[in-house]
């Protein structure tokens, strides 16, 4: 897409909503902006209805500003808290159903590759832990097995938050949640390890307490997916509403969990992915 595409036709400036005018005048398209520039431009994400202090909303906001080419990115989402925010995002985004996001993304990516063979059209899946690790496991894993050039980002709040805080495969052992009234009986799924074994050439674990690291993970994941193969980013996004801590404590919860060894930032690059990133960085100078 070029900026020309969404410019307001002469005479229509007055009738367009202010949010749209701001996007045209101060939006991030084709500007190569990042986390460092936050606060100085109009963000892709518009006012959303997610809870105060939502770790998922914060991560989504940081993820969107980390997209290397928002003007050529299509996002595929899934049912969950994030689906309340996606209608507010100024890039094309598909909400299909619960758990089929990587299958939808597969079809979309193949279609866009056929229609735009000479241009990078990034297809990025952003979904919760329930959608990615539980109900959508089959579609996620098989998109990796097939080597689809997609980026899969899990917003991991360790629960089904949108439906009222039920246990998910990503909840920690022993956590008392709805549908786990006696505490969760099995361990948090080692999904980054699963991703590596399933063929992801780049796997990162990050959280919004380190915005630069989150940005780097997302950016690398998308760039590597363009050329090399499937990539996976797992973002730890604590939920104050269902885990019943103060909204102001979201970031300190991440730090505490990190200290306790229950959350560990990580980055894995396959040799091919590492060589590609090195090549990109050298080209940049």
């Amino acid at each position: 897409m070029t900026r020309r595409m969404f410019k307001i036709s002469a005479g229509f400036e007055e009738v367009m909503p202010p949010e749209y005018r701001e996007l045209v005048e101060k939006g991030p398209f084709e500007k190569q902006l990042g986390v460092a520039e936050l606060g100085t431009f109009k963000e892709l994400l518009e006012e959303h209805p997610l809870c105060a202090g939502c770790g998922l909303a914060l991560s989504l906001r940081l993820t969107l500003i980390s997209l290397p080419s928002p003007e050529d990115t299509v996002i595929v989402g899934a049912t969950g808290c994030s689906s309340l925010a996606f209608p507010q995002v100024a890039v094309h985004n598909i909400h299909s159903l619960f758990g089929n996001q990587n299958a939808v993304a597969t079809g979309l990516k193949r279609a866009l590759s056929l229609r735009f063979p000479d241009r990078a059209k990034d297809v990025v899946v952003i979904a919760g832990d329930g959608a990615t690790c539980d109900i959508g496991l089959e579609s996620v894993m098989h998109s990796w097995f097939r080597g689809e050039k997609l980026t899969t980002i899990m917003l991991d709040n360790e629960a089904y938050a949108n439906t009222g805080g039920q246990e998910s495969g990503m909840s920690q052992l022993g956590t008392v949640l709805n549908m786990a009234p006696m505490g969760k009986k099995f361990k948090k799924v080692a999904f980054p390890e699963v991703a590596k074994a399933a063929g992801c050439v780049y796997v990162a674990v990050a959280a919004p307490h380190q915005p630069r690291r989150l940005e780097r993970s997302v950016r690398r994941a998308i760039l590597i997916a363009r050329e090399i193969g499937p990539t996976y980013v797992q973002l730890y996004t604590p939920c104050p509403t269902n885990y019943k801590f103060k909204p102001a404590d979201t970031l300190s919860v991440i730090r505490e969990q990190e200290k306790a060894g229950l959350f560990r930032p990580d980055e894995y690059l396959s040799p091919e992915a590492a060589a590609y990133i090195q090549q990109l960085e050298e080209a940049k100078g």
């Binding site: 006012e47 089929n100 979309l108 229609r115």
Partner: protein, 381 residues
């Protein structure tokens, strides 16, 4: 390397080109249709012995008739992947049947709601437990209200014609919703029959993604902020109105398909001797059995007319009322237990006491034509 074919106007492909005769199964007829359909992406799931149709589509991909093709991990994912590809602006095709239809069911209203012009062949079979692989059309009862347009093929010839025509109907700008082409598994898919086909050097014009009435998800059109307050999970009048009007719009899109179906299929129904006192109304393989039965009945001195229902959604309401106004009895033979076609007809015509629900066979058996002859005989008494 794509196989070179000439793009021709649909009317020429369907009505003016010189057709040649093949002796093929219904599954092979699906392949003949796709060969001429200019499909970009085919996505398959193995549900053989339902049919070989998607193997054949795979072979067509290898021969350069399609641009992309792969096997998905389950039917739900396949229906999702074709949705993604369709949203990305390409022409797609897939096929399923029976348990596969039910497994992927959540996607069908989604296709319609997202205004995707997907064409899917449903090669029907039983869905009951204990396990069955036998022919049965019960899944069509569930499909009636997904928002999709539904054609029902009588034989391999219909299946070939209807698949090709489905693309043209589905992709009309004022329609732009999915079309399901249904054929009775085994009776059509596995039966070798004569099929007249257009020259293989011809194909339909390519899909025009920007004919879509909703934005193509390619970031080549304005990525506007869709809503200030998303109505997905809200309870307020704006939300109710948005959902209600959209459901109506999908239904209206199917209604707007009528003239195109009229033009390409030659009508939503086809009638033979419609002035008879007894009418047999059927769709799919039941039409073939009825044709044979009517002939036998005539030999025994019982006259009956035939109405073949080619399109179930939109339903041929006006046609049905006009055709059944004068008759005294209506026999509706069906290959399912519930008798969904009889139900539809009863709900459509005013004097519905004259509808005889049945005969019906299910569980896989062929309907002996004598059952229909008996029904005609009883109605004549």
């Amino acid at each position: 390397m794509m196989t070179q074919q000439v793009t021709v106007d649909p009317d020429r492909l369907f009505f003016q080109s010189e057709r040649r005769k093949l002796f093929v199964t219904g599954s092979e007829a699906v392949g003949e249709a796709i060969k001429r359909a200019n499909v970009d992406v085919g996505i398959a799931y193995p549900i053989t012995p339902q049919s070989e149709s998607m193997h054949i589509v795979g072979d067509l991909y290898a021969e350069g008739y399609l641009k992309d093709y792969f096997r998905g991990e389950n039917e739900f994912s396949v229906m999702s992947a074709v949705a993604g590809a369709s949203m990305g602006g390409v022409r797609v095709f897939t096929a399923t049947g029976g348990p596969g239809t039910l497994r992927s069911f959540e996607m069908f209203p989604t296709w319609a709601g997202a205004r995707l012009p997907i064409v899917c062949a449903f090669l029907t079979r039983g869905v009951n437990s204990p396990l069955t692989i036998q022919p049965d059309t019960i899944e069509m009862a569930y499909m009636l209200d997904t928002g999709m347009i539904m054609f029902h093929a009588e034989d391999a010839q219909d299946l070939y014609d209807m698949i090709l025509k489905a693309f043209v109907v589905a992709e009309q700008c004022d329609v732009h919703i999915p079309v399901g082409v249904f054929a009775d598994g085994f009776f059509v898919t596995h039966t070798r029959d004569e099929v007249m086909v257009a020259p293989p050097e011809m194909k339909l014009p390519a899909y025009q993604p920007y004919s879509s009435p909703v934005p193509v998800m390619d970031m080549e059109n304005v990525p506007f902020r869709q809503m200030r307050d998303p109505f997905v999970m809200k309870s307020n009048f704006i939300s109710y109105a948005a959902h209600a009007s959209w459901q109506q719009e999908v239904t209206a899109a199917a209604e707007r398909a009528r003239p195109y179906i009229q033009h390409y299929l030659g009508g939503l129904v086809e009638a033979e001797n419609p002035g008879a006192d007894i009418l047999v109304i059927a769709s799919g393989t039941a039409v073939s059995q009825s044709r044979a039965a009517i002939q036998t009945a005539a030999g025994l001195g019982f006259e009956a007319g035939l109405v073949k229902v080619k399109c179930l959604r939109p339903f041929p309401t006006e046609e049905m009322r006009a055709l059944t106004g004068q008759c005294k009895a209506i026999v509706v033979p069906e290959f399912n237990r519930v008798g969904w076609l009889a139900r539809e007809i009863r709900a459509t015509i005013e004097d519905n006491g004259k509808v005889v629900g049945g005969p019906r066979v299910f569980g896989g058996m062929t309907m002996p034509t004598d059952m229909i002859v008996d029904a005609i005989r009883r109605c004549s008494a």
